[in-house]
Symmetry: C2
Subunit: 256 residues, 2 copies
DNA sequence: GGTATCCATTCTGTATACAGCGCCTGAAAA
DNA sequence: TTTTCAGGCGCTGTATACAGAATGGATACC
């Protein structure tokens, strides 16, 4: 969901060929069918996607801006690869920007009514976390609600400039707020992390309501670091590693 | 300089038609010949730029990602307009990201040798600031050196993920580190600001060398706020306002 | 006089054709 | 056996043609 945020406005009506190509290519890349370093030639993609070169090319340009592809100096595009550090840093960037959003919301103040939707979301999350502790597989619901929470938080900042940058930062699949939820489920301390994450959610809203900017910012940064912790676990656990969205793009230490 | 950072890699050899179109369009927009809200039709641009529709279209897509254009729901693109808040927030975003870069550099540590280039740059800036106090018009040199300093600072963080986001944030002309230098020159307290800015430069390097992450981050944030101050001045001073890069894109309070 | 409707113009999205460049392969010579 | 050169293939960048849709203006009706 959060992955396609940047394209959402385009796909509302009838998905144009360009958007179709963009989504299809993204799936091919994230699914690992196109491996990091692979050059993506347009003509083969024409056959594979069933659209002409023009939309394919447009999609490639967009995916480059999105960060999944890199331009080859002699022309064309190749699938990018990411180091472990790249992923850690991307998470840190998202944390910094979400922290900024939370701080701005807190410092500038939010009308009480505007907090209602996110408080609803928080309550729903509470319920899901409860279910989860009861053993039910509530993760799909959690992912959805978590994504919504982060979106609503952005709304509170009411800042297009900040929102834009956060969205850009979260386009990379493993930098999205929900990227490591699946990994998290595999953790021995899964319940703890879930509880802590939800407490972050609660506290950041309290901080915003109380206009505590520094606190709001610190919480969101720490919140992002939960993802880093999950990442660290996933790097040491083969099964968990495969649960990272876009795992195919990551090169583990030692390989080029 | 910093403005074309994202396109630099493409323009190295012989500027392709697409790059040519992108640069030309950017100039038209920033120069105010294409006004905010204006739809940019492709065919007129074909005549105006002397290239065919394909490169024009590619350039439009890139300029949208860059933030200068917005997609029209029914198709095509229009020149974006920015509120005062948008500009403040864009500056704040850059500050947050440059702060992150500085903090990471400090926390992770930088080999002593890697500090040499930026210390050189700092010394050159010292000289220019000195000249400027002596009355010489040193602003072109200052702009160049200032841009270089900020680039070198990014290098210290040695983080592609962070660098990428900072560059993206700085694509908007008024969010670039050097955006308000010209405005600054018009300030009554121009010398003071210049002195303070240069002290920021010096202190952030010291902080990085001393691995004081929090301090390094705080300095870069405050450094960005100098731009906010300049902006505030420019909003109250017609002559200074025109010195903002991309001033044509800004809508002053009250107008749509 | 205002409003709704219809038509013509104009534009975008898409497909395709063409030229030039680069790269890779294969063969020949040292 | 290795290196170099030549040839061919594939690829990108660019231009252009075509179809469907939207927009704006003019006209007719209320």
């Amino acid at each position: 969901m959060a992955l396609s945020a940047s394209a959402d406005r385009d796909e509302e009506r009838s998905p144009s060929q360009t958007v179709r190509a963009q989504l299809a290519l993204r799936d091919l890349i994230l699914g690992g069918e196109l491996r990091p370093g692979d050059r993506i030639s347009e003509l083969p993609m024409v056959d594979r996607l069933g659209v002409s070169r023009t939309p394919v090319r447009l999609a490639l340009v967009r995916l480059e801006e999105e960060g999944l592809l890199e331009a080859i100096p002699s022309g064309g595009f190749a699938v990018r690869s990411f180091s472990e550090r790249d992923v850690f840093d991307a998470i840190e960037v998202r944390g910094a920007l979400e922290g900024l959003a939370a701080r701005l919301a807190a410092e500038r103040g939010v009308p009480a009514d505007d907090l209602l939707p996110i408080r609803d979301c928080l309550a729903e999350l509470d319920a899901v976390v409860e279910q989860s502790h009861a053993g039910t597989d509530a993760f799909p619901a959690y992912v959805e609600l978590n994504a919504r929470f982060h979106r609503l938080l952005l709304d509170l900042a009411d800042s297009p400039s900040v929102a834009r940058q956060v969205e850009r930062a979260a386009t990379l699949p493993f930098a999205s707020p929900s990227a490591f939820v699946k990994v998290q489920a595999e953790l021995p301390e899964a319940r703890t992390v879930l509880t802590v994450a939800q407490d972050h959610h609660r506290c950041v809203i309290d901080a915003i309501e109380g206009r505590e900017g520094t606190r709001a910012e610190a919480i969101m940064r720490e919140h992002a670091r939960l993802a880093s912790r999950n990442l660290r676990f996933a790097l040491r656990n083969k099964a968990a590693f495969e649960l990272i969205p876009g795992a195919a793009l990551l090169r583990r230490r030692g390989r080029t």
